[in-house]
Structures are given as structure tokens and as C-alpha cells.
């Protein structure tokens, strides 16, 4: 475990070296938040309602800030894995005293950590400037309260772990298919849609909400953001248990896939 923690720390420090790159990612966050703040302001204005599906304009924008913070922090570790598989470099990793897929999970989390901090600060700054609403600073209870923020931070960590495990699984697909990027696009769009990245699940038609309730995608985007904007201890416990359950299931799946993948590996010489 110490080894993986060391890899995580090293990857995070490495990311921090490329601060200009991180700043560019922050620009992306400003862009997305700007577009969606304008869109939701217009939508609320047109509807003439103070709330849509139980969310006020400020809550909707904060919700989006939190989902974007998580998804824009995820690392594209599947690219590194699939390249290693295609070039054969993966053979060198077999001699190392750690499991390659879990090394990549730690690497992914290390890459995500500095991005997460920067994205959170950027998104919060954009929303505070755009809406003039800073719930935590205001000491509000319920929406955006301090317990909500703490719950969000804990659940976001689990969400990034889930995301890293999925990214590793996508990368390992390179053992079976030539190009894994389309699999990533599909995963990313599932997060956008049934994961609740752009829209909270409460906005969905009933039948769809019921259908996506137990899928892993909503535990990555919707659940942490919802915990922030509408903190309820019961919901947080249920969602965190769901996240933990999926972490266990995905760890087992990654182990299984890696065992099968290794059987397909043919090393020719050194």
C-alpha cells in the first residue's frame, strides 16, 4: 500500500510541475461554467419558476460546478495503458514489485489530485462571481453547507477512484481491441447523461431515473454534487455505500481482467 501511496504522491508532484497546463485546464472550466450559467439563467427566466425539479438557479449552477470539478479532474490513464500494450512496453512492467493496473490507478489518482484542487477553486470562483452566491462562506445550512462540502470532498475522492478503475479497465481493453478511445467516449458520454453531469437525476423522466439509479455512473458525478447542494445524512450514507460497493466490484473486475490479459501477452526477446 505504501508503494502505491508513493506513486500517487510522485504523480501529483509531477502534475504540479506543469502548472501552465493546469492553468489551461482552468480556462476550460471557466468556459464550460460560463456557457451553462448563461443557459440556466435563460432557462429559469423563460420558465418563470424559482425552482426546476427542486433546484433553484444558484443550486443548479453549484451542482454543475461540482460535477464539472470531478469530471474535468479525471486523468486519461487509459491512453498510457493502451500505448504500453500496443508498443509492448507493458512487458517491462511485469518485473516490477507491484501490480501494473493498480500502479496505474495510483498514477491516475495522483494526476487527478492537483487538477481537482484547481478545478474546485476555479469553479467556485466563477460561480461566486457569476451568481454572487457563496453558501459555505455565508454559513448556510442545508444547500452548500459545511457538512455538504465535507461530504462532497469525501465522495469526490471515491468518485475519482471509481473513475480511475474504469479508465484502467478501458486501457486494458487494448489487449482485445485495436483502438480503445471509442470505449472512453462512450463511458464519458454515459457520465454526461445517466451520470448526471449536466443535469441532476431529478430532472429526468421517472422511468429513466429509476433505470439509472443503481448504475455506477451517477456515483461518479451526481451523488457527490447532490451531497453538496442538498446535504442529507441519509442520502450521503446510502450513496457512499453504493460507491464503496462499486469500488470493491471494480477492483475485483480489474484483477480478473488483468489475469486474463496477461495470458494474451507474448514477449519476444528483450
Amino acid at each position: 500500500m505504501t508503494r502505491y501511496a508513493f506513486i500517487l504522491r510522485t504523480a501529483a508532484r509531477q502534475q504540479w510541475v506543469y502548472r501552465a497546463e493546469l492553468a489551461m485546464r482552468a480556462v476550460q472550466m471557466v468556459l464550460f461554467m460560463g456557457v451553462f450559467m448563461a443557459l440556466w439563467s435563460t432557462a429559469f427566466g423563460v420558465s418563470g419558476q424559482a425552482e426546476l425539479a427542486g433546484y433553484s438557479l444558484a443550486e443548479m449552477v453549484w451542482y454543475l460546478a461540482m460535477t464539472e470539478t470531478i469530471t474535468l479532474s479525471s486523468s486519461r490513464v487509459f491512453v498510457e495503458i493502451s500505448e504500453a500494450v500496443k508498443k509492448g512496453d507493458i512487458a517491462y512492467t511485469l518485473a516490477r514489485p507491484l501490480s501494473y493496473p493498480f500502479y496505474q490507478v495510483a498514477n491516475s489518482l495522483g494526476n487527478s489530485a492537483p487538477r481537482f484542487v484547481l478545478n474546485l477553486l476555479t469553479a467556485a470562483a466563477v460561480v461566486v462571481v457569476g451568481t454572487g452566491c457563496a453558501p459555505v462562506l455565508r454559513g448556510a445550512e442545508g444547500a452548500g453547507s459545511m457538512p455538504g462540502l465535507l461530504a462532497f470532498l469525501g465522495m469526490a475522492a471515491l468518485a475519482l477512484l471509481l473513475d480511475a478503475l474504469v479508465a484502467v479497465l478501458i486501457g486494458l481493453l487494448a489487449f482485445w481491441i485495436e483502438e480503445v478511445t471509442p470505449a472512453f467516449w462512450i463511458y464519458q458520454k454515459l457520465l454526461f447523461t445517466v451520470g448526471g453531469l449536466f443535469l441532476p437525476l431529478e430532472m429526468f423522466p421517472d422511468w429513466l431515473r429509476q433505470a439509472v439509479r443503481w448504475l455506477p455512473f451517477q456515483f461518479i458525478a451526481y451523488a457527490p454534487a447532490r451531497a453538496f447542494v442538498a446535504f442529507e445524512p441519509g442520502f450521503v450514507l446510502r450513496a457512499a455505500a453504493g460507491q464503496a460497493g462499486y469500488v470493491v466490484a471494480l477492483v475485483a473486475l480489474v484483477g480478473l481482467v488483468w489475469r486474463r490479459a496477461r495470458r494474451r501477452l507474448v514477449v519476444h526477446g528483450g
Partner: protein
């Protein structure tokens, strides 16, 4: 005068042959890995389709948004996707101009008799771009069933949108001639025009709207062509064509000017 016209026609034909030759060659090499090609194109098609989910849910709660309904937004997506697809299929290097300049890869294009800008743009084909192209066309036909008569106009407007995208990318990519590594900057500017292009310009406040007609001309990629499809107006069409011609000319002039400052990377590469 006749001689001048003939010379110009010769140039146009030469360029057309170059574009067609690369298109054919790139498609043939993509077909060598058929599975990967279809997987990428189909993946992108699915990816684009899922982006419409947001609007489907939103319009389930709101009938219209400043004059835009689901069919209107789908048409807008259709034009942007078709334009983007056409741009990346024909001019696969269009969004990589800054990277090519900064890495010294222009040497290859400068050593050959073809027009360096056109040659650089068309020498690569994006395979997922085919998925965008097909998605754009399909979503237009689904959004407005029975609008087969407008198909030629849709195709024309989609190609215009693609040309605006490529011209804008060349403009921002050419910054690399002056500032060196402009790859990140160019990527952000290109992301901005595509992101804003996918939303009706009417949803943005006044100042942002002005920016979307000028500095980041996303309105000419999405909203303006989409509005022309639902309500054609010669004056607006002339504005769109005029803007497209202007930005294309500007991109070419800036690239040519920048090229004078280009210093070889003395890069030794092998090209297949």
C-alpha cells in the same frame, strides 16, 4: 486577361487534384485497418448522439428557449457536427496547425511544389470525423422529417460552417509563428468556438453575444446557418458568405505573413 484567368483556373484545378488525391489516399489507408476505422467512426456517432440527451430532457420541461425548440437545436447540432466532420475529414491537420509549426514540421510542406497551407491542411484525415459527418446528416433528417428539399442547403451551410472552423483554426494556429508554442492557446480557442457553436447564440447575454459574432465567431458556425435553414433570408445568407470569405482570406494572409518568419526545425523524419 484571358491568360490570367487560365492561370488561375490551372491553380484551382491543381489544388482540387491535390485535395482529391489526399482524400482518396487517406481513405484507402484507413480502409487497411477497417475494424479500427468503423469502430472510431461509429464511436463518434454514438458520442454525438448522446450529447443531445441534455436538450431532450430540458425541452421535456420547457417548450421553447428564446425561440429554439428541440427540432431547432437538433438542426443546429446537425450543422455543427457535419461542418466539423467535413473539416476534420478533408483538412485533418486543420486543428493542429500550431503544433505543426512549433515542432518544425512545416519543412516537409515547404520543400514541395504544392501550396504549403493547402498541403498542410489536407495531408491528414481524421477517422472519427466520418462519424461526425454521418451524425450531422442523420440528425438533420431526423429533426425535420420531410425536409429532403432543404438537404442541398443543409449541405452547403454545413460546408460553410466547416470552412469557418478551419479558417479560424488556421488564424489562431498561425500565432505559433510569432509566439512559439501556441498549441495550448490554439486548442483552447478552437474548443471555445466548437463549444459555443453548439448552443443557440440567443441564450447568451449581450456582451458575450457580441464576442460570438466577432472574436470567437461561433455564431457563424451554428446559430446563423441553423436559423437560415428554418427561415431563409438572402441578406443573412450574404452576410454568412461574406464573413466566411473574409475569415478565409484573413487566415491565408496571416499564415503567409507568418511563414516569412518561420525557421526550419532541421527535423529529419521519414514519411510513408
Amino acid at each position: 486577361m484571358d491568360e490570367l484567368t487560365n492561370e488561375w483556373m490551372d491553380e484551382v484545378m491543381k489544388t482540387a487534384r491535390l485535395v482529391w488525391g489526399y482524400l482518396r489516399h487517406n481513405l484507402m489507408s484507413a480502409m487497411a485497418y477497417r475494424g479500427a476505422f468503423f469502430l472510431q467512426a461509429f464511436g463518434m456517432l454514438l458520442n454525438d448522439a448522446m450529447l443531445l440527451f441534455f436538450w431532450w430532457v430540458l425541452f421535456d420541461r420547457l417548450p421553447t428557449l428564446r425561440g429554439w425548440d428541440l427540432a431547432g437545436v437538433m438542426t443546429l447540432y446537425g450543422i455543427v457536427a457535419f461542418g466539423f466532420g467535413a473539416a476534420t475529414v478533408v483538412c485533418g491537420n486543420g486543428f493542429l496547425v500550431a503544433r505543426v509549426i512549433a515542432s518544425g514540421d512545416m519543412d516537409y510542406y515547404l520543400a514541395l511544389p504544392a501550396d504549403p497551407l493547402v498541403h498542410l491542411l489536407v495531408s491528414r484525415m481524421s477517422l472519427p470525423g466520418w462519424g461526425d459527418l454521418v451524425f450531422g446528416l442523420a440528425v438533420f433528417l431526423v429533426a425535420a422529417p420531410g425536409r429532403w428539399a432543404s438537404l442541398p442547403l443543409f449541405l452547403l451551410l454545413g460546408l460553410i460552417a466547416g470552412l469557418v472552423l478551419v479558417a479560424f483554426s488556421v488564424l489562431v494556429g498561425s500565432l505559433a509563428f510569432w509566439v512559439g508554442n501556441a498549441d495550448n492557446l490554439a486548442t483552447q480557442a478552437i474548443n471555445a468556438i466548437i463549444t459555443f457553436g453548439l448552443y443557440p447564440v440567443e441564450i447568451f447575454p449581450g456582451v458575450v453575444r457580441v464576442l460570438l459574432y466577432t472574436l470567437i465567431p461561433a455564431a457563424f458556425v451554428g446559430s446563423v446557418p441553423a436559423a437560415l435553414l428554418s427561415d431563409f433570408h438572402w441578406g443573412r445568407m450574404a452576410t454568412l458568405v461574406g464573413f466566411t470569405a473574409g475569415i478565409t482570406l484573413a487566415a491565408r494572409c496571416v499564415f503567409q505573413r507568418g511563414l516569412r518568419r518561420y525557421e526550419s526545425g532541421n527535423l529529419v523524419t521519414v514519411r510513408g
